[in-house]
């Protein structure tokens, strides 16, 4: 199957999101669709998925022009869209999920469970997947959920599958599993559109790529002819640096020391000490316990034993309110679930942490917060129109900067950033790295939690690598390499 999108234009109000984009996707290839947030990728895919109608341009399937007026029509044409938020019902078994909305019935009108199970087994076999169809979906990890959804699409005879950032929430082994699945699909002559921000993955699995920038197609071709640096440059429009950022390091006194910190089996016997003006990375694979560790230090989770010292003084950290008073700030991972208040405007989202501190008899001092935020807005280079606009009007990167602003407003001594560049485009990533170093120069101890080794290498002075709830090793400056980090993160030793 071959899909051609020709001269697609789309605008929302006065905002031209797609300006004359043409793409061709063939069966049996893995096609990377790249671009920063807001470049137009989602809009283009939503047009292909029948969710939006293009203002101009045409789509043809195997040379025949089609017009999709609903997602169902797009599905019937053989296009499946696997969204980032998976569409599975957690409390039903796999086989029922496979047939949602088109359940086979027996003659008496009841569900034909046997056929459902049999057909599911059959497709798993065809796709080389070792999975029991009777398992409930909530027992599966994210990669298998992804795989179940792909199989469901295959069962509905999809020949082009759009995958929107399928690997964001997966661990490395899970990612491999999904990649294997993608290779199998390719062999079955299915065309895959792979949307991702992770360029190394693109180099690993894709054959062709297209880069969108500001609604234009800026580059297209075979992956084997380009490097990661090329792709990054196409995406942002200028050179992206990957070398460590140099800075003068002027370390002050110890601000945070942790001794023997343990919480059940989540993290065990954690010891470290951090000084003013230091940037320390905590890295490892997903599920290594680093997020939980710092949530406990921040008072959002429990600890079973161990002590925390701030400025040499022992502190109890049993509530987030207390932790903020102790000068600790924690920017959580998964912005949407953990950081954004969707019913509130930008100003309130940026000041929620300090309402109580600056209130007068319980009345919020908006004038103060406005002043504080306006300074931060310049410092963090937040692109926005109006303070009273809803937070959801901002792009991912700018939302993240607002979340950062709310933590800077607390005037922290210790700033913990958990996956700070998640869902943030390349340009905004660089902004965030700059800000981290600037804050360290102002004597704040910055702790960066990330599973992306290059990010740790780029901004941190040293890094602690975690493995299964323990600190596996420490790497200082030049020792920090992809190779070293990976071997510690997988439970190995330095050789």
């Amino acid at each position: 199957m071959k899909i051609e999108m020709t001269n697609i234009r789309k605008s929302f109000g006065s905002n031209d999101v797609l300006k004359d984009v043409s793409l061709t996707i063939n069966g049996g290839e893995i096609y990377a669709l790249l671009g920063e947030n807001g470049a137009g990728k989602s809009t283009l895919m939503n047009i292909l998925g029948g969710i939006y109608k293009p203002d101009q341009g045409s789509i043809s399937v195997d040379g025949k022009e089609v017009k999709f007026t609903s997602p169902i029509e797009s599905q019937e044409a053989g296009i499946a869209f696997i969204h980032q938020e998976l569409n599975l019902i957690n409390d039903l078994p796999i086989y029922e999920n496979m047939f949602l909305g088109r359940e086979p019935k027996t003659k008496s009108g009841s569900l034909d469970l046997e056929k459902m199970i049999r057909d599911t087994e059959e497709i798993f076999e065809r796709m080389n997947i070792d999975l029991d169809p009777k398992k409930e979906v909530n027992e599966l990890d994210s990669s298998y959920k992804q795989i179940v959804e792909i199989c469901r699409a295959m069962m509905a005879n999809a020949s082009i599958i759009i995958m929107d950032e399928p690997t964001t929430s997966l661990t490395d082994t899970e990612i491999e599993r999904v990649f294997d699945m993608m290779q199998t699909l390719k062999e079955h002559n299915v065309g895959l559109i792979f949307i991702s921000h992770k360029l190394s993955e693109v180099m690993q699995v894709c054959n062709r790529y297209a880069v969108l920038r500001d609604g234009n197609l800026v580059s297209e071709g075979d992956v084997k002819n380009v490097t990661i640096a090329d792709l990054a440059r196409y995406m942002v429009g200028y050179d992206v640096r990957t070398e460590p950022l140099a800075r003068k390091r002027d370390l002050g006194e110890e601000v945070l020391r942790v001794e023997g910190l343990t919480y059940n089996h989540v993290f065990k016997d954690i010891n470290f000490s951090i000084r003013e003006g230091e940037v320390v990375g905590f890295t490892g694979l997903l599920g290594d316990g680093r997020s939980e560790l710092f949530q406990s230090i921040f008072g959002a989770n429990d600890i079973s034993s161990g002590t925390i010292y701030v400025h040499g003084k022992k502190v109890t950290s049993n509530s987030t309110t207390q932790a903020i008073k102790n000068g600790i700030a924690y920017l959580p991972r998964n912005r949407k679930e953990n950081a954004i208040i969707p019913d509130m405007d930008i100003l309130e989202n940026s000041s929620i942490t300090t309402w109580a501190k600056f209130s007068n008899k319980g009345i919020i001092n908006y004038a103060h917060h406005k002043k504080v935020f306006q300074e931060q807005r310049d410092l963090l280079r937040i692109k926005m129109v109006d303070l009273t606009d809803n937070i959801s009007k901002l792009s991912g990167g700018n939302q993240q900067k607002v979340v950062l602003a709310k933590w800077l407003a607390t005037d922290p001594k210790i700033l913990v950033l958990d996956n700070p560049t998640q869902g943030v485009d390349v340009g905004a990533k660089e902004d965030i790295y700059d800000i981290i170093l600037k804050l360290a120069d102002e004597n704040i101890a910055v702790i960066v939690l990330s599973s992306e080794a290059h990010e740790i290498i780029r901004v941190c002075d040293r890094s602690l690598v975690m493995y299964q709830g323990r600190i596996q090793g420490e790497l200082v400056e030049k020792e920090m390499t992809d190779h070293h980090i990976m071997s510690l993160a997988t439970g190995g030793e330095l050789t």
């Binding site: 987030t320 903020i324 959580p332 208040i341 509130m344 942490t353 209130s359 109006d386």
Partner: protein
Amino acid sequence: MGNEGVVEKRNFFQWFKHKWSNDPLFSIFTALILMIILQTLVLGFDYDSFGSWFQSWSNNWINILRNNAGIAIVALGMTFVIMTGGIDLSVGATLVATGAFAMMLLDVGERGFLGLMGITGTLAIILTLILVPLFGYLLGSLIGLTVTKGMVPPFIATLGAMMVFRSVTQQSMQGYNPRVPTEFLEIASLRIGNLMVMPIIYWLIIAAIMYYVSKRTTFGRQIIAVGSNERAASLSGINVNKVKLRVYALMGLLVSIAAIIQVSRIGSMDIAGSGRGLEMDAIAAAVVGGTSMMGGRGYILGTVYGVLIISVLNNLLNLFGVPPLLSDAFKGMIVIVAVLLQRKGKMF
């Protein structure tokens, strides 16, 4: 700031459409105005002079507002509860519990609490006005603790409390007919000019305070933050349990004020029947006013509109001579229609 500087000429329809899709309270306000116009037309203009027409019109309004002051005060508290993502089914039972408590305190017969302690007259009334809200606050806190520390879902916690409060109140009031001193009745029946407007004044004062709290105070904004994204609120240093506890406590306090108004209007309270369905009326008013049952989104002003819409509807049904048994059917429909109207952008 923002787009204010852009001068754009709009005709009425464009302005209306813009308001309709951008201001969540606009559709409900429009509906209210239309209903008031209809009500005015139905009342007719068949009077000798403008003065006598106005008197009749405003008397009708004062009756509507006064009769609904209790529901309105409860609905204001319910709005906060719903905004945190919770619900309070116990308000009707709390109403009779606090109302009975007030009557027990004030009873001029042999069993009156305060009377037994030798406290009578104005002092007794002042003490009642302190103790009853305190009792309401306590009952609310009890529910709040069950919801927060006990981690019992609000629906269950308040369903249980509803049964407990009413049943205990009924048992303790069995065969007991307290008589409230006539001075106490002044609280609701004091006339200003020649008008019995005190309950309306209490309502409006409370609404104004609640409006201010929801817009400007830490507590009010924390309510929205908790309802909108509890996890994010907690990770932002907000003590989520404290916010919820205070919301239920405030609910109990407001219900006790409604109870005081009710007891002081007629001098007694029917323990078995009073407050039945009050929770549904309060929830309906909040929902009509745009408050989301999912929490996060809610409007004190919307709830005021909501109470008015439901009361004007009742008044209209009365004027049209619709059988009383059917009035709930209309109330039910207006709740659903109101939510349909508020689904942004679906209408035009």
